[in-house]
Subunit: 392 residues, 4 copies
């Protein structure tokens, strides 16, 4: 039996790249580069096979997956050959991409979303469906007392208008709907998602795990690798400044003050956590339409060494955001499915390796996150008990 | 009782920076930034205090330590204030810096070197003396059958002319002399040093530990941190090219083909070991007299991600070589002394963290080397047995 | 007879570096590197000698020039030796640095400033005094009808309160006072200065020249050199993004929205003027206190070539702002003095070479600006008429 | 009547890109970006139209133009659409690409080459044929007395074996054959080409112009733009170091010591000529197979400013070599044809703008070269005399 992957934001670049990639690998048209769960470390871990993933999702956009994939191929994000070869398969997936339901209150909307999930599961005879949020980044929501308690939340959602004065932002409503349907949930964006006490409680009560936040794909990945070097060598980082230039839908959205602030906050944690202090310097995110899905980041680090000598390191990162994010979406769907199968529920803090702003408590140095992931993989192997997956 | 640090190449930039630094810290004129052994990790580890190190050494050069320190201050390597304040202390150390002995054969030369070490120890009432080689890099020596067996080596040294047709290169003769005098030995350069079966045997037999090779201070440090990131993310590094521009005595020496090849070989290992394959690309070392003790390195990494997308990372490192190396010299002297006190002999593979080309077996990823060092530190704490220091 | 240089913002980094530099060159303690007017091009041009410049100025700050120079030496901006050797000369200059006058209206304030200029000229028997504004950047002022006509301006200044609701911003009041005293004026900052129709009229009427705006010292200098390359090669610049990280007083001031916007506007012109269109991308200026007077800028240029191929160039500039600006201040004082001597009045558009936002009409490509400067120099040589200095 | 462009090395990347580009522009499938001769400057200059160029050439390789173009499209050098659309036109051109003749001596070989040129001209009814050398870079040839005098050369070629002990290297033999056939010649590589006194004499005697050497497409282009900035500002360049990483056939060839030295020598001139001195630092060219036709260059410039302050600039250039070179090949063919039409013969020093190592006397600063080109263009306009084209 196969595993469903339900992508919220299913017509976006990351989702389409993930779908094309999984189909291309299944068809032998691409190799598995970039897929962490295909490393030897995961040999013997009972993950659903890449070929056994079935895709569907919600999206407000109407462009077909085939058209979107062709556009991504024209931009150089996707290889043209596989896109042409997979048109039929993509059209088939398209039948499982639904518009976001909208009802008179958020409770009813969530019920419709959950019923879309259940129907998808039944239609394809899936063992389970993992919901992954890859929709555009939201501004931080206004606080609401119902975020703290599940009973208050359930009550508040009844009567919550879908737009103005909504109790939950869309990402959290997606998490709520996933839990309602008994589905694990992955927050791949900096949006709030499942990160509310009421939703954490709901996940635990319904026995489903969740993971997040904000896939770590570029500048922050490098930072989480480099910053510990300075700490280990007792070198004092004086300043760390960074600028990210990106286009695409993600870039356009992050040019808005709300999402920009949410993203910058997510990106800023790694230094404080790995160095133990916050050096001077800002993280800038600038929209550069022409860059499309390719992101260029430049970081300048100045540091102080022995006898006060000042030194510097700067790096330039030029990456394709969707190509970096998409295999992690597949990794997370597989790992979260396996954790659910293994009996895990609540926050999967051991997946910090994948995230800019991991669920706490978790280390922020990439090597430590890797070690944690290794332990998690070990705990999923046959013979390990349900609680052995990590440092709960 | 204090610990002696005997620096082979004692009038060079690294040695003088280490001496000035230790004296400045003792005098409260500088803080401990850059000293790994001053991190909280080493709390409770019985290391000799920085203030309890006594310095001496061999050198072929005649410039006084004060003059050399002033020259380094003029170049911006050392801070001017401490150098001026420490002139008297530096002059005192100068009395323990001796010319390299030279006798009719290498056996006799080694005996004179060992007797210099013994006299230094006695003169200052030192508990032990650690010998650290910071002399200029040598070309790889011609192989010799006596390198393989201690008895053959001892015989061959008797009759080995000091220069042409020498059995041992200078760095290995320094290691031989250290072991003869019962002193631990640290190879801070890529030269051969103790890295010969006969010398390894000698160290074990005489109960002294040794460490090496080639202090990891700049470009390779960053590489050992970054390369594992690509491996962990299953990204395929296609090319890794680097160029190092440096001046100073080290730069001038590395402009010679022999030392250049030795250094490049030492720098090249990290990628093969951390990635599991060797990407295309060269590591260049170019002499740029005007750069003085400051080194600029530029590395370009191109890699392949999901669905074949090509991406790139480049970094520029601008560091002061002596300021990066000197605190590691102090760290290694302290750690090797403590290991000796703890009963360790032979290769200290757990100190791989400090080296470009560590004694095998050892990991090459910096984070793994750090974990190994943590274990080593733990093993030195009171109550740990003599064999608990690491994975022998 | 010597020439006076009156620096508005005389205790700031740029002014103090210019003064120390001129004194050091006169004393044979420094060479003339960085001084454009010392190039062979200017041989035979009757400029006042560097050794014949006498300095004074206005400033709101109270720190002595000696103290400020020592602080700049500690930061590595000025060389320590000359600063120590020139303490007496600096203290002498300090007697000519006066607090900014403040009276009940701007007319009276300007009269007091002009009388400071006259007294300075008389005290030292100067042939003329050139006023150079190196004070911190102001926000763009509110428009005022009196900016357009000199008679309206003179009337409005009488009754204009010095602070709130001032008719002229401080830089323009300084230009007004300079013209009142018959002194040439140089705008070294992006502030308004003489750039108002009423002030232009006043300069012409009183027979004094003026120059500006905004000394071109770093990123914009490189841009004005590189951008024409793309135009000459018919390569289409798609994006040009830049970030400037700087500390010091200038950095702190530019962190304010008003001055930041003024500076960014000044920096933005070069691309539009040299390319003929405006590529995508922003120019960022970020305050990084720890950087002090050293500025690091990073620019990324993406461009399209033959058959649509996309290519890229990025550069990193690491410069000392005061060391770059100070010799230009001396150059401009000398050139403006010579132009005045030659009978020029009104805008010196031929000095565009020195400015980010030159007085129009003027080319923006550095090489064209250089050719214009060459013609200007030629026109100042003995035998050239007063109008031959450039393309009026 | 149309103009023939005869490419020596006609199946290489640069030649094929030039041909595809010209055909694509003619067909309306591409715009003219990258073509200098399409700038407004050339309005009214009687150049042969891009659509009126007819291509042919010599090559030792046998791959068809269509196949080569497809391979370049797969590498991302050429756009796929136009290549597919132009297959028929490319196959037509292929009929005019001949193997290099080989006879018993160089005189006879040259006669065969000249007769290929004459036949090409006749076959297509061309007004003239311009020969452009885009073959791989040769090592510098051994000096030979016959290089100095045309009569000696003609004699020596009779009896010169084509390979070992050849009197002329292939590029010079190509120039000789071109002149024999009355064709203008363009040296687009650093090879010797027409740069021998005997060949210069031959060109003048036969009334044909020639241009060269070594198309300026990347790092040297930027250098020729940036270096004058330091000179104009009286900033002292202390070091200028560069590394070029490139793959493709050009890269493989330049990995050989002979061609590498020839190229590095060609690249080195710009600094000496524009600065007036040679700063420290090397220019490295490293082969990186995986880079294909894309070249990455990194240059570090350190310089000294006012009062000895040290500063730095580094830049990274990432360009597609063939896309940068190909439009210049078209430009040079058009300009050389027009000069021939205009009655010019001998060296066209005014085309220095296009070359790394221009024919002397010529300026090396790009802006000065541009001005020279502007004058040249003006001189070609109807009404200008045959000698007005430049500063002969």
């Amino acid at each position: 039996m196969t595993t469903g992957v339900w992508l919220v934001g299913c017509r976006g670049s990351v989702a389409v790249t993930a779908i094309v990639g999984a189909l291309a690998i299944r068809a032998g048209l691409a190799d598995r580069t970039g897929c962490v769960t295909e490393l030897p470390l995961f040999a013997g871990v009972p993950l659903p096979a890449l070929a056994d993933l079935t895709f569907g999702g919600h999206d407000v956009a109407a462009v077909s997956l085939v058209k979107k994939a062709q556009a991504l191929a024209d931009e150089g994000v996707l290889p043209g050959g596989p896109v042409r070869a997979l048109e039929e398969e993509l059209a088939a997936v398209d039948r499982d991409v639904l518009p976001l339901p909208s009802a008179r209150d958020q409770a009813e909307t969530a019920a419709l979303m959950a019923s879309d999930l259940a129907a998808f599961r039944k239609r394809h005879g899936l063992r389970r469906v993992v919901v992954v949020n890859v929709a555009t980044t939201e501004p931080a929501p206004a606080p609401h007392p119902a975020h703290a308690r599940l009973d208050l939340l359930e009550e508040a959602l009844r009567g919550s208008r879908p737009d103005d004065g909504a109790v939950l932002p869309p990402s959290s409503l997606a998490a709520y709907a996933a839990f309602l349907a008994g589905c694990p949930f992955v927050d791949f964006t900096p949006s709030t998602g499942a990160r509310l006490p009421a939703l954490d409680r709901m996940a635990v009560r319904r026995g489903v795990p969740y993971a997040g936040h904000d896939g770590k794909t570029g500048e922050t990945l490098v930072k989480s690798m480099l910053a510990p070097m300075f700490a280990m060598r007792n070198l004092r980082v004086r300043t760390w400044s960074g600028i990210n230039l990106l286009g695409g839908g993600d870039g356009a959205n992050l040019a808005q003050p709300g999402p920009n602030a949410a993203k910058a906050a997510s990106k800023g944690k790694v230094l404080r956590e790995t160095l133990g202090y916050v050096p001077q310097g800002e993280v800038r995110i600038d929209y550069l339409e022409d860059a499309g899905d390719f992101k260029t980041a430049w970081d300048l680090v100045t540091f102080e060494g022995f006898l006060g000598r000042r030194m510097r390191l700067d790096f330039t990162w030029h990456g394709c955001d969707s190509a970096l994010a998409a295999p992690l979406v597949l990794d997370l769907a597989r790992l979260t499915a396996a954790a659910h199968e293994h009996g895990r529920s609540g926050p999967l803090t051991e997946l910090a390796f994948f995230f800019k702003d991991p669920l706490e408590p978790a280390p922020h140095a990439l090597a430590d996150q890797w070690n944690l992931l290794c332990g998690f993989a070990g705990g999923l192997r046959p013979g390990s008990g349900p609680d052995s997956g990590g440092p709960r």
